[in-house]
């Protein structure tokens, strides 16, 4: 098992290096950094010589040869230096800070979405053909058709309506915390409560979008498993249908799900990007959107590196999980 993972890690490292390089080259070749962002469609306009000098110092001058810029950038990356932003600040510091914000935003939602989706999917499959199954299926279909940037405003509208009807503001829908919450009547506890109220809506958005995907997967997997001979064997041993499915079906149905796990991380990052945008969280997603609009190459490249590494780590995690769940994989490794 260990050797298997190490081998995978080596393969992934090569992929990560190539993908990161490719991402930098793409960004550096097609973005045109300007100190004053006129908009993405502006294209190369003559810049003042002083600006050019400043840009060159930041390795952001798009009139320098691409290969040279890449060399400087790559040399920096090897040292753990992601370069500087258009404003001249180091990318790395801001990157870690924002990454942490994004993690806070996504962690609860994705965990809830995964667990909820798997449970709902398993439930629907076990009740195949009943009203409950149809409801879950229809719900997941509808949810899959609603992009995050529609879902989030919809929930905001709904929350606003609830607030208006009750006259109490249950949840906040902008930012991560209100200034001065810790200084309120409840002190530190108030600060936590304030954070939770800010987190509630975005978490629901992330959870719902993940839930729909996992629900569809798990339902399909469970349907394959429900007819499996070993579930019948388990029932022949004296387990009730429900227990047989729980003890022998769910774990087996989870095995193929681990493959999707890796794929959905990419989706999760995107969900995060839109969610941050809508709810005004200053996370990685919001940052990278601004960076692309400004032509801030180093920031875009850094975000790409983070995303690629995240996808690969998720791949590794899903390999490990698969090995944990499935003895056959362990044997082959």
């Amino acid at each position: 098992m260990g050797r298997f993972l190490v081998r995978r890690l080596a393969g992934h490292a090569v992929l990560a290096v190539v993908a990161a390089s490719l991402a930098y080259l793409l960004a550096a070749a097609s973005l045109h950094p300007r100190p004053d962002p006129p908009g993405p469609a502006a294209g190369p306009a003559p810049a003042a010589p002083a600006d050019r000098a400043a840009l060159r110092r930041l390795n952001l001058d798009d009139r320098e040869p691409l290969a040279e810029r890449y060399r400087v950038w790559a040399a920096g990356i090897v040292r753990g230096d992601f370069g500087r932003t258009l404003r001249g600040e180091p990318v790395a510091a801001e990157l870690w800070r924002r990454l942490w914000v994004s993690v806070r935003l996504l962690a609860a939602g994705s965990a809830l979405g995964f667990a909820g989706g798997v449970l709902l999917g398993a439930y629907a499959a076990a009740r195949r053909g009943t009203a409950a199954d149809r409801l879950v299926t229809a719900g997941s279909f509808l949810l899959l058709a609603v992009p995050v940037f529609v879902l989030a405003p919809l929930l905001q509208i709904a929350a606003a309506a609830v607030d208006q009807a009750t006259g109490v503001q249950f949840v906040e829908w902008v930012g991560e915390s209100s200034p001065g919450a810790a200084g309120g009547a409840f002190g530190a506890l108030g600060a936590v409560g304030d954070r939770v109220r800010h987190l509630a809506l975005p978490t629901v958005v992330v959870a719902l979008s993940q839930l729909a995907v996992y629900c569809r997967y798990q339902r399909g997997m469970m349907l394959d498993v429900i007819g499996a001979d070993y579930v019948r064997t388990a029932r022949a041993k004296g387990l009730r249908r429900r227990d047989a499915l729980l003890r022998h079906g769910v774990r087996t149905a989870l095995i193929p799900l681990t493959t999707y796990f890796a794929y959905t991380v990419g989706v999760l990052l995107l969900t995060g990007m839109f969610t941050e945008q809508v709810f005004g969280w200053h996370g990685l997603g919001e940052w990278v959107v601004d960076a692309i609009l400004r032509g801030d190459v180093n920031v875009v490249a850094a975000a790409n590196v983070v995303a690629a590494v995240a996808v690969l780590l998720a791949g590794l995690a899903s390999d490990a999980l698969r090995g944990l769940l499935d003895p056959r994989v362990r044997a082959r490794a």
Binding site: S30, L142, A145, V150, G220, Y263
Partner: protein
Amino acid sequence: MTRPPGNRRAVAGAVLLAALFAVAFLGPLAAPWRWDQTDFTAFRAPPSAGHWFGTTQSGRDLFALTLRGMRKSLLIGLLVAVLSTGVAAAVGMTAGVLGGWVDRLLMFGVDLLLVLPSFLAVAVLSPALGGGTGVVLVIAAFLWMITARMVRAMTLSLKERDYVRAARFLGVGPVRVIVRHILPHLASLLVVDAALNVSLAIITEAGLAYLGFGAQPPDASLGTLIADARGAAPAYPWLFASAAGPLVLIVLAVNLLGDGLRDALDPSVPRCAGRAPRRGPRDGVPQALCAVRAPAARAPGKREDAA
């Protein structure tokens, strides 16, 4: 065990989609305003006889704008799907049939593109390529990888089918084997997958436009309309609904169609749940058939690659 739900879904999706197409392309004939006209007498006007969906902040007719966005979404979805599924089929079949280093090289490329955050790459590239065909090309360039993997897996398993072997042993040439015995069996997979790619492409395009990477004003896309309406959504709900509604409907219709088609034309003919009547000790065959289903079962994952 019952197939009808799949068929019902496919029919419902197809009907809904046809209706949306009709509205998007025939609607302008009936609509009182064109999308690039401005009514300086109505700003943020609610729906009325003159402006069926109301007007925007700058006095443009929302119905006409929405139709314009829908046309864009539908066309981009269709083109991207055809393009990306075509690329996927070509790459997957080449890798599967030739094998060896060609296979390894192509699959490395697939893995690489899967690791590359595709939405960011598309966002970075889209301004450079301008609107229209450029967007189609860029989105398609990042949508074909998973399909290619599925096509490859299926080609590999088809290659081992007894009837393909029988044809080879009859002296049938490789090209003829592909055309006669492999492509027809991939067709249903490809059709289903193309349908699912349509919805992905539509959501990607709308997402790009929403963030400001796609259509630039004064042009409109469902994404830009949603972005414009979002801030004022609680106060002016029709702004939001008229753009978000059609988008959701289109995606829903395409998803229903794709999912229903998959159930209706499940590429693996025998259901693996049904037990083979009897087999001798050489029972490799049923497993081989089940293996084919695995990539098909992966398709649901494709639906939601762009949030």
